[in-house]
Amino acid sequence: MKEKSGITGGRIAVYVILILLSVLTIIPFAWMLSASLKLNKDVFAWPMEWIPSNPQWANYINIWTKIPLLKYIGNTAILTVVVTLLQLLTSSFAAYAFAKLRFWGRNLLFLGYIATIAMPWQVYMVPQFMMMSGMGLNDKLIAMVCLQAFSAFGVFLMKQFYDGIPDELCEAARIDGLSEYGIWAKIMLPLSKPSLATLTIFTFVNTWNDFLGPLLYLHTDSKKTLQLGLRMFIGQYSAEYGLIMAASVVALIPVLIVFLALQKYFVQGIASSGLKG
């Protein structure tokens, strides 16, 4: 049990530091929100008005007609959900083998995965693009799924978590007659809920925010993702500060909602005894 002493000096200092840091961290978003409700000429007015006296809600209406934002969001949402599901399933599966099974070529294969994390995507994007085009995947959302669903990152992260679970647990289950699949499904998965939640958030965010992949693969307007659309918008309407910020806010909201929804579960998961063994 942690000591539950009352208000001490140390405690107050912690709060002060935390509040200060939070404010610093969050200022860019506050600015974004504030600027999104202003006329272009007022965005840089100094001293600045944090809460615009004459909020331009029209900015939030205009962005939907300036670019097909809804379409972009839809594409991104489909992509993100598919990639995240595939990533969770295949990564936790593979990570179990790497963490808890002894087999031929284990270290070699795992080194292969680590090397992939290391290899910037830009290194092989051209041969990859050619190959994908040869398969007829160019300008298709499925290309982005292939690109992102099998990342080494997921395997690596899950393995790190599984390594923390004592081998004796698996041994005991084997003695009880559980198959390896059973151990994975009945012991590892429930224990690794926090890490699954973590991976979900990371994969979701990475896919949602990916910019360079879609830039190369998706060019028809109806297939573009939100990030690509946002970047094009910034390029075309660069002096429309208010509109750019409004579009940016819209781009952030879905990911914020998902994060907040999952975050509760996620923190609970971390706090549960899963990782303490």
Binding site: N40, K41, M130, M131, G136, L137, T220, Y237
Partner: protein, 445 residues
Amino acid sequence: MKKLMKKAMALMLALLMVAGLAACGGPSGEESKAPEATKTTESKAPEGGNEPAGDEEVTLKWAVWDINLTTYYQPLIDAYVADHPNVKIEMVDLGSADYQNALITQLTGNADLDVVCVKDIPGYANLVKGGYLADLSGEGIDSAPYGGTIEQITVDGKFYALPFRSDHWVIYYNKDLFDKAGVDYPTNDMTVAQYDELARKLTSGTGADKVYGSHFHTWRSAPSLFAVLDGKNTVVDGNYDFMKSTYEWVLAEQNDGICQDYGTLKATNTHYSGVFFNNQVAMMNMGSWFIPTQIEKVKSGESQATNWGIVKYPHPEGVAAGTTLGTITSVAVNEATAKKDAAMDFVKFVGGEKGAEIIAKTGTFPAIKSGAVLDELAKMDGFPTDENSKEALSTTQVYLEMPMHDKAADIEGVLNEAHDGIMTGAMTIDEGIQKMNDEVGALLG
């Protein structure tokens, strides 16, 4: 050890070949698994090959940039489709910022593009080197009406793109800001020094009310190419000492707050149109492609610079008025397309006389420029009504921003970087020019 290396190399090469084959859409076993896109193309090829005007459906994919900001794509398509009801044309917007990169990447991956726009000369040079474009020289196109532009893009007796737009640089000015400052409007015969002087007179205010006399967009061509207007040098010669005086006066304007700071414009990724729309600048040197955008945005209310005009580009002392910079934009056929005849027909339409008329109606400069076309442009609804603006549409001598050169893209990369260094003050003018001389010198060997 050596043997192993050789073996590994052979394996890698083999893999590469396989990928190459797959990308070529060769008749390998895997083709049958390829999704519809490839299949339809292949099944259509034999029939569509000989009769472009046939009855069966053809869908052409046309690579363009900035669909939203460009006024003539749709009218061109509408006019063509009206005559060819069996043809459908889909535009693929690759964005303007990185268009040539995106295009060549798409073509490398054999994306199923049929017709492509070619944005600039370096891009064209790369496309030709890579063999991506179909030869147009045997298609019976008369080069005479194109005012010498076809000759400028001819390589070894062949040309691979048909110019459909040819723009030249002019000065856009905001009449209201001139009136407010009590300064006379600029004229069609203005030296560079006079332009500088005028810009200084028009600069006023601070903060949000600041009005800049001139505006140089962040492109290298905007400020630095005043240096080539005397016709004595080009930017592919390998020596750039002649640019020094131009950079000197431009930097002086920047230091004196006559034009917006390059670094700031770059940091905020500022588009020149917004600056002009918002009455922030009195004069701006920009290509004639901005005319239709400005007209349209005045109508839609997006541009607040409603009272505007254009005049001829400032010229160096001793050079005739009407000397200016130019660019050409062209259309081409993807060498790898299975619908070559249909694509060729569309390209000839866009780059031909009919296309020119349609383009001119939207206020854009077609490559085929007759007196009638220029009249058409000046008569456009929304075009400034003063005589000077109309006269500014004609030119006496046009130098291409980037002449055709085998290494144009590499040279441009060096020049852009040095330009960035000079304009931000990261390098002195002398250092920047030295960099250009050294690095381009190395490229030219």
